[in-house]
Symmetry: C2
């Protein structure tokens, strides 16, 4: 845990990152396990330097814990309840790990700083698991992908933060497919359906899914068909350069 | 301008409110004009007390400037660029209004506090203009509804904040119709279409709109028809108690 200083960071503001990974038709979340007694899993989190934007802070935090750079991340919600603080978790951590030098280094002032009320901005990303190499930080015992349906117990409100990220991921999937980079250059309708089924955790009717997805106007059907199959060759698609209608966002 | 104290508020965190109003098929925004020389329009804004949640702060700020209570508000985005500060605006304000007692009361320390970098959480609401009575605050010269297409010049990044709120309003309209309370108990398809046209600022094809909106599964068609019209009576609809599919949000 790098020592936060009152001068360097914006007070009482933190960032929590939910990194979704997709591989073999399964959706997972990247979660470090802390290198302390007591089995603590916590989302990659951190603070905002006075000299960086909140987006820059989110990317820095992500890279520091995972080695991942330059991926598409987006804020999805602020968690700002009055009682939101790491005090309970930190007290428990200290109690179980009294002998550890890392914690002894934490001065009382820093401890008080960290355990104040924090308003946290949630950021999420969705990446191809094959393309990232998670890296352990000093304070991590391990860092792993956990299936979104079998997450370990998370500290504080981090489980709620994952659920809110999942809600946003599903809501915005149609308009973010380009950014996520999860599909090859060209692909079949079946590959798209598998991606949607993994993210929504439900089957879509094969006779209805193509119409629904094509109505969104995010895919473009190519002349060339997929030729690997022995049976009737399916159409190939690619992503349009999608800009949603009526989107005044700068 | 009530004097902010360093102890009472979370540092460098503010809230900006975009209040959309709907009336006579037009979408407007509620904006106070500041009671200072220089024609300054600014969104209803404020800070977050240590003892309140960010949602509570948003409602308090809204009520303080508008007299509106208990309306549905939702956070939509955080504005967190490094250079985001009211310094330039405040310097200009002070220069133009040097003789004003209100500004003289602002101690240097408070001035420095207010003009630091602020990360701001945007909240938006959509209300029926007939149902609210905007109220002037001490520091407002006036408070008025401005058509969203003819907004006055706004301070800082407030124009961008309005655009982001508009983006979110359009994106989420289908799932929030209930909360907004803009339609009567029962209504015709034409009334729904007029609402959508005002908010999206574009016409929808009358032969296509009903199918599109009914596919969203937010409306329920009644047996009873509208009987006021002399010509063929249109169907009446009401809002379903809508809970969007796949919405894990708590």
């Amino acid at each position: 845990m790098h020592s936060p200083s009152e001068q360097d960071y914006i007070q009482q503001l933190s960032i929590d990152c939910v990194i979704f990974g997709y591989q073999q038709q399964q959706l997972s979340v990247l979660i470090p396990k802390l290198h302390f007694k007591g089995d603590f899993w916590a989302l990659p989190s951190g603070f905002v330097y006075q000299t960086e934007s909140i987006d820059e802070a989110a990317h820095r935090i992500l890279e520091g814990r995972t080695g991942i750079r330059n991926i598409y991340m987006e804020q999805f919600r602020v968690f700002g309840k009055t009682e939101r603080s790491s005090r309970q978790f930190m007290d428990q951590l200290v109690q179980l790990n009294e002998e550890m030098a890392l914690l002894q280094e934490l001065q009382q002032k820093e401890y008080d700083w960290i355990t104040r009320r924090f308003v946290s901005i949630g950021y999420y990303a969705l990446v191809d698991i094959n393309q990232v190499k998670p890296q352990r930080h000093d304070i991590d015992e391990s860092i792993d992908w956990y299936p979104v349906k079998q997450l370990p117990p998370l500290i504080m409100d981090h489980a709620e933060i994952v659920q809110e990220a999942l809600y946003t991921l599903r809501r915005d999937l149609d308009t973010r497919l380009n950014a996520y980079n999860l599909l090859p250059e060209t692909f079949t309708m079946k590959e798209v359906q598998q991606l949607y089924e993994a993210i929504f955790d439900k089957p879509f009717a094969a006779n209805n899914f193509p119409r629904k997805i094509l109505e969104q106007n995010i895919l473009e059907r190519l002349e060339k068909r997929y030729t690997g199959a022995a049976n009737k060759a399916p159409y190939l698609y690619r992503l349009r350069n999608h800009s949603p209608a009526n989107e005044p966002r700068p």
